[in-house]
């Protein structure tokens, strides 16, 4: 099997949908037959397990594996819905030094042999957890809300990816994708919300997907179901379209010059 691709889901700002997006994209990759592991890097504030609905099955965690207190296979939780989906939960420890580059690198190398995709769910901020989540990434999904503080923080995290990632330090560049969440096409059209073009112009990152503001997101997290595996909704299809693009199976639909329909985004969707 080809070695896994390491992708960080990051944003700088908190509460924009990193964990929701990690769960949704990870589950969708697995649903399409790609063996995928999602890793929670938010040490001390783990939540990916809750969004994935496996919080009662956590026995060992990421830090236990780094410290050789458990094996990787003991800590990995196999999803009950998708046979190709695994989660590596974060530790609830308050010890900030628990996560270190050597330990994280060792685990990512081990996972690379068994998986096709390794999704790293970054904590907010630009502290150690976030730096560790992005350090080994080959690609990055930048989750951004159409809101000034989120866009500014995304720009900041892009700067960090360009200077502090392993690839950047070796003279390369992390491939970046922009995922805009909580978007309201109607409000953007009325000029009450930054448009997709505005955000892309400021951040200069290729658009991976646009997730509409949707009640289905809360409903899915209430139940612990990744939204891509939940009942049909606009957000579910938007995440599926984003995954198609991530896999290079669909082009990003270009918005029409004068206003544009949100449905255009789903063109080329194969599922």
């Amino acid at each position: 099997m080809a070695k896994a691709k390491v992708i960080v889901v990051t944003s700088g700002k908190g509460g924009v949908g990193k964990t929701t997006s990690t769960a949704a994209i990870g589950a969708e990759l697995a649903r399409r037959g790609h063996k995928t592991v999602v890793i929670d890097f938010d040490i001390g504030l783990r939540n990916l397990d809750l969004i994935m609905g496996c919080e009662r099955r956590v026995i060992y965690d990421f830090i236990n594996v780094i410290n050789d207190e458990a094996t990787l296979s003991q800590a990995l939780i196999k999803d009950k819905r998708e046979p190709n989906l695994y989660i590596l939960p974060a530790s609830q420890t308050r010890n900030k030094d628990a996560l270190h580059q050597e330990g994280v690198g060792k685990i990512i190398e081990l996972l690379k042999n068994d998986f096709k995709f390794i999704l790293c769910d970054s904590p907010a901020g630009i502290e150690r957890g976030a730096l560790m989540a992005l350090y080994f990434a080959e690609e990055a999904i930048i989750v951004t809300n159409p809101e000034v503080s989120s866009v500014r923080d995304s720009d900041r995290i892009i700067g960090v990816l360009n200077s502090d990632s392993k690839i950047a330090k070796e003279g390369g560049e992390v491939k970046k994708h922009l995922l805009i969440t909580r978007f309201s096409p109607a409000r953007a059209k009325r000029g009450e919300m930054l448009s997709l073009e505005d955000i892309q112009e400021i951040l200069a990152v290729d658009l991976l997907g646009v997730i509409p503001e949707s009640q289905a997101v809360l409903s899915a997290s209430n139940q612990g179901i990744p939204i891509t595996l939940d009942a049909d909704s606009d957000a579910k299809f938007a995440y599926r379209a984003a995954v198609s693009r991530l896999l290079g199976e669909a082009e990003v639909a270009q918005p029409a010059a004068k206003g544009w329909s949100f449905l255009r985004l789903f063109k080329g969707e194969t599922v």
Partner: protein
């Protein structure tokens, strides 16, 4: 700026205001954070080595500054040379 943008601005369109504010804050951020090329310290050192071969200068007499101005950057070198009588 397009005519459409101007019209929007007249109506105090909040998204347009947001974009303008972001463009300013982001350009400052990029000028100040890790997007600086990392060759500046090395360039400074090598310049010092070369100029020292011909004249007696110290590190403080060479200033290397990079300024981002929109799409391009300006590399500003300021080298203070001592008067000819002090030359090596």
């Amino acid at each position: 700026m397009s005519i459409l943008d101007l019209l929007r601005f007249k109506q105090k369109n909040s998204a347009f205001t947001a974009k303008e504010r972001l463009q300013i804050v982001v350009s400052h951020q990029r000028a100040n954070n890790g997007n600086k090329p990392d060759f500046l310290p090395q360039l400074h050192k090598e310049l010092l080595d070369v100029v020292s071969k011909y004249t007696n200068i110290n590190r403080e007499m060479i200033q290397v500054q990079l300024q981002n101005e929109g799409d391009f950057s300006v590399l500003e070198l300021n080298i203070t040379i001592p008067s000819a009588t002090e030359a090596v």
